[in-house]
Symmetry: C2
Amino acid sequence: MRRKSFDDQACGIARSLEAIGDGWGFLILREAMFGVSAFDGFVERLGIPRNTLATKLDGLIAHGIMLKEPDQEDGRRSRYGLTPAGEELLVVLLALQQWGNKWRFGRKGPPSFMADRATRRPVSTLIVQDKDGTPLGLGDVTMIAGPSAPAALKRAFKKLPG
Amino acid sequence: MRRKSFDDQACGIARSLEAIGDGWGFLILREAMFGVSAFDGFVERLGIPRNTLATKLDGLIAHGIMLKEPDQEDGRRSRYGLTPAGEELLVVLLALQQWGNKWRFGRKGPPSFMADRATRRPVSTLIVQDKDGTPLGLGDVTMIAGPSAPAALKRAFKKLPG
DNA sequence: TATGAATAGTCTCATTATTAGACTTACAAC
DNA sequence: GTTGTAAGTCTAATAATGAGACTATTCATA
């Protein structure tokens, strides 16, 4: 059966996931952000099957995250790059990386991290906080329906504790 | 064929994705963070097939993100909750939500957002920044190999532009 | 121009994952 | 006991993923 679409859900998280696609989508974005632009570049660095890559790239382009253009210097090549929307997914990758680096590498610590290119110091740790800068844990945060929320969503939030 | 594992990659992003699983994993976490704890609760709110949910929950538990315990008050129920590691994925969901809310809902704006439970003001926007608080764009950031990085990873980073 | 290599895909076929929905088991309420 | 609820499991159909061969186009070079 076809995978169920998340795009109908009135939720920014679901919409983002639908646009990125799946795990391959995130990894393709990681490579695109750090210099890869050629089809075979993604294949070599990720070990992704060629047909899967073609499908994923089409999806990312269709969702306005990546773009494709012919290479001016070599007519055999296409170049894949990030749109402005795609570039803004950096913060998502950073959040994933910081979590994985903290929880998934045990004692020996993370093998890589994002850093300021100029100072080579690690990027600041992302934190959930109030407008005043007060850190917020899970218990301090709630989900609120905006003006455009469908009635069903507002009902769903009513049922939430707190 | 079985989906290729991301877990061998020496990268926090890949490790996080391997632990969360796929799009369903993120959505299960979203529900768990905002009050759902029963098996049928996830089924009803997500529309996820029961067998898929069972598989995904097993994976999240195996990776130390969620936990399962019998309900003390009703012997029929199990309760699914987040571990401390799972709770810290809030920032990942927030990053996804803020991106989706900005880029995926057009003119009418986002239907929901995370807010401070007390003040009901939206949570602060996540930004990639230096330790000093200087905002960093994609061009200002690079990936650096840590002490535990395998040699192949260091070579890979050498090839990157900048 | 002819030849060979590089690049970006596409094609086939085998295997795995996802899905809908019925079914089972255990417990609770009456 | 009877009925209902909760948490899964099972089956069969369909879709996605995988490895690897293959094609088409363009470049480099003799």
